[in-house]
């Protein structure tokens, strides 16, 4: 039985976290830990990589595995180098929507395209929270943020659909309301040979909540009521891609073997 005490003793470097009260990032940390524990993977075989943003702090400094806290937007590129250099490692990237699709969008596309065997967990709160609630590529049309005070004139990106189209082996979307589904999904993603991507809609009570005039409980309720497997667009949750296909590090190893023979 995984209890809070067991988690704290085995997987968390230190607490309390720096996350705001009611922030979903702590829940996602909880979910990642439970998935790792269910899989019974040795912690030394896991590497966590993150960029800049609130969600980048989920692995660094809280998750007790080797962690690389990198520059804004680049964790997927760092993770690709780490994975290719040591394919034995299970490399998990935790990134925000701004980090993964704004400044780092190109890396996300190419990691999915090359099907490198890393796992990206993208925490989507629909804006840039750490820097003060600015508009992100995931902010809905007409939504108010601190840099779209009159509403967002642009349109939002359905990230999971883009990553699926780019060639990922596993793509799923959940919310912080769907904790059990999320944990099982993270387990599958970590064990998936190719590139795996999980989008987690998460509540940001501080900035998103202020703009939507909702607290974190109301946001969780909103997730529960509106995000369903039979919903449309961004509200559709579930596993979108779950396939097996050749993976980059394996293909590289095969090529090296062929060349050296």
């Amino acid at each position: 039985m995984i209890t809070a005490r067991y988690i704290k003793e085995n997987y968390v470097r230190r607490l309390p976290s720096a996350f705001c009260p009611g922030c979903g990032d702590g829940q996602i940390l909880n979910a990642i830990i439970r998935a790792i524990d269910h899989l019974k993977i040795d912690r030394k075989d896991i590497a966590a990589v993150s960029g800049i943003g609130c969600s980048a702090w989920i692995p660094s400094p809280y998750l007790r595995v080797d962690s690389l806290h990198t520059t804004h937007g680049r964790p997927i590129a760092f993770a690709t180098g780490l994975k290719v250099a040591n394919p034995r490692l299970k490399v998990i990237v935790v990134s925000g929507d701004g980090d993964a699709t704004g400044i780092g969008g190109n890396h996300l596309l190419h990691a999915a395209r090359s099907n490198v065997g890393i796992t990206v967990i993208m925490v989507n709160n629909g804006l840039y929270a750490m820097t003060g609630g600015q508009v992100a590529p995931t902010t809905p049309h007409e939504a108010k943020t601190t840099t779209t005070p009159y509403g967002n004139p642009a349109f939002s990106l359905d990230v999971s659909r883009v990553v699926a189209a780019a060639g990922a082996s596993y793509v799923a979307r959940w919310t912080t309301w769907h904790m059990n589904q999320l944990i099982r999904s993270i387990e599958k993603a970590i064990m998936k040979k190719g590139f795996s991507f999980i989008e987690v809609l998460s509540q940001c009570p501080t900035y998103e909540g202020r703009m939507l005039n909702m607290d974190h409980i109301e946001m969780l309720e909103w997730f529960r009521k509106n995000f369903r497997e039979d919903a449309e667009g961004i509200y559709k949750i579930g596993e979108f891609v779950d396939i097996e296909k050749p993976e980059l590090t394996e293909e590289l190893e095969k090529m090296i073997e062929r060349v050296r023979r």
Partner: protein
């Protein structure tokens, strides 16, 4: 692979040979003139020694990937030219902050912006040292021949492994694309980083201010961050002493060890009144002009930093008292000039050439002769 013996190759390829002999096992790059030949050579050579080659989506991804690979324990390199080098600056600072050994080859071309893609220049001298934000130090090497593209690439890996810093090889389109004889020696000195066997070792700084490096996957539970951090990796951006101790050590580990890093070539300096200082491709005609000046009875001398940063400051100060004029032929309007004027405390006779061509022996000799009058 790359057996001892003689080769006839271009500079870019020699650098790739040097990397392979130095033990490089990971390369990530993005095509760019005039450095693509390094990338192509690494793509061909690395799999043959069991190494990994990746062509990434851009230069930012390339430097990110080699930093990641370095933490997996592999000697890693990328190669680029001006535009790509500019894109890499943020993560050069990241590598300095996280003390990640990596090697970056910048085969300089004429800028700014896209400039003359296939033409040589030396306009990245200051960027190679000051390009990323904040206080940090790198080591920058300046090869002037195909042989040195090989030798200094090996040296770059060794220095990066010893000091855990990004080491930059500042070449140029002339040296990168020229074909010359390359001699790969029988014995090559190779240095490998000290891998920490426990967490304590990652915080134990030696006399040279460097600690053993942890490796991902060894179970040390490393916490690596580009944020200001304590020796154990804990992020601490609020304590002034933590920032001060960290940044001072990052700078001092190069500054205090500079006598073992500096390297230069000199000729006729014992009694020189006119000192010609030059680096990279422009040092070749510079040396020729000094030899010609000597034949004509002019007391000219020649000094060429093979390590540009840190500069051979002490040696230059020694020469300062005897030397009347300092001439700097260079393919840049700025280049190394500010550094020399800082060291010599006087105006340097700069001989800049900015057309994307190497200065000629005649041009430099004319300058020496007029300075001697």
């Amino acid at each position: 692979m790359i057996n001892p013996g003689e080769y006839f190759v271009e500079g870019d390829v020699a650098a790739a040979y040097g990397a392979i002999r130095a033990g490089c096992l990971f390369f990530a790059g993005y095509p760019i003139t005039p450095a693509s030949e390094i990338t192509q050579a690494m793509a061909e050579l690395l799999p043959r020694v069991g190494g990994k080659f990746l062509q990434m989506e851009d230069e930012i991804a390339s430097i990110s990937a080699i930093i990641g690979a370095s933490w997996a324990g592999l000697k890693s390199m990328t190669a680029t030219s001006g535009p790509g080098f500019s894109l890499m600056q943020e993560n050069i600072g990241y590598a300095a902050m996280t003390e990640t050994p990596i090697v970056i080859i910048d085969v300089q071309r004429a800028g700014p912006a896209i400039g003359q893609a296939s033409r040589p220049a030396q306009g990245d001298v200051m960027q190679s040292r000051f390009g990323s934000h904040g206080d940090y130090e790198t080591i920058v090497l300046s090869p002037n021949s195909v042989q040195e593209m090989f030798d200094l690439t090996v040296k770059a890996f060794n220095l990066s492994e010893i000091y855990r810093v990004p080491v930059i090889i500042l070449s140029d389109a002339e040296v990168g694309h020229m074909m010359e004889r390359l001699v790969v020696p029988e014995r090559i000195e190779i240095v490998n980083r000290k891998i920490a066997s426990n967490f304590q070792e990652t915080m134990a700084y030696g006399e040279n201010l460097v600690s053993a490096m942890g490796r991902f996957g060894d179970g040390l539970e490393l916490m690596i961050t580009g944020s200001t951090h304590r020796p154990d990796g804990t992020r601490d951006t609020g304590t002034p002493e933590v920032q001060e101790n960290l940044v001072r050590r990052l700078v001092n580990k190069i500054e205090k060890n500079r006598s073992s890093i500096e390297e230069w070539e000199e000729l006729y300096t014992e009694d020189a009144e006119i000192l010609v200082i030059s680096h990279g491709a422009s040092s070749r005609p510079s040396k020729g002009a000094v030899i010609r000046a000597r034949k004509e009875g002019i007391r000219a001398g020649f000094l060429r930093p093979r390590v540009l940063w840190p500069s051979p400051e002490r040696r230059m100060i020694e020469l300062d008292s005897r030397v009347k004029r300092v001439i700097l032929p260079e393919m840049s309007l700025r280049g190394y000039r500010m550094e020399l004027e800082r060291i010599f405390h006087r105006k340097v006779d700069h001989l800049p050439k900015v057309g994307g061509v190497v200065p000629t022996v005649d041009e430099i000799f004319t300058k020496i002769r007029s300075a001697s009058l």
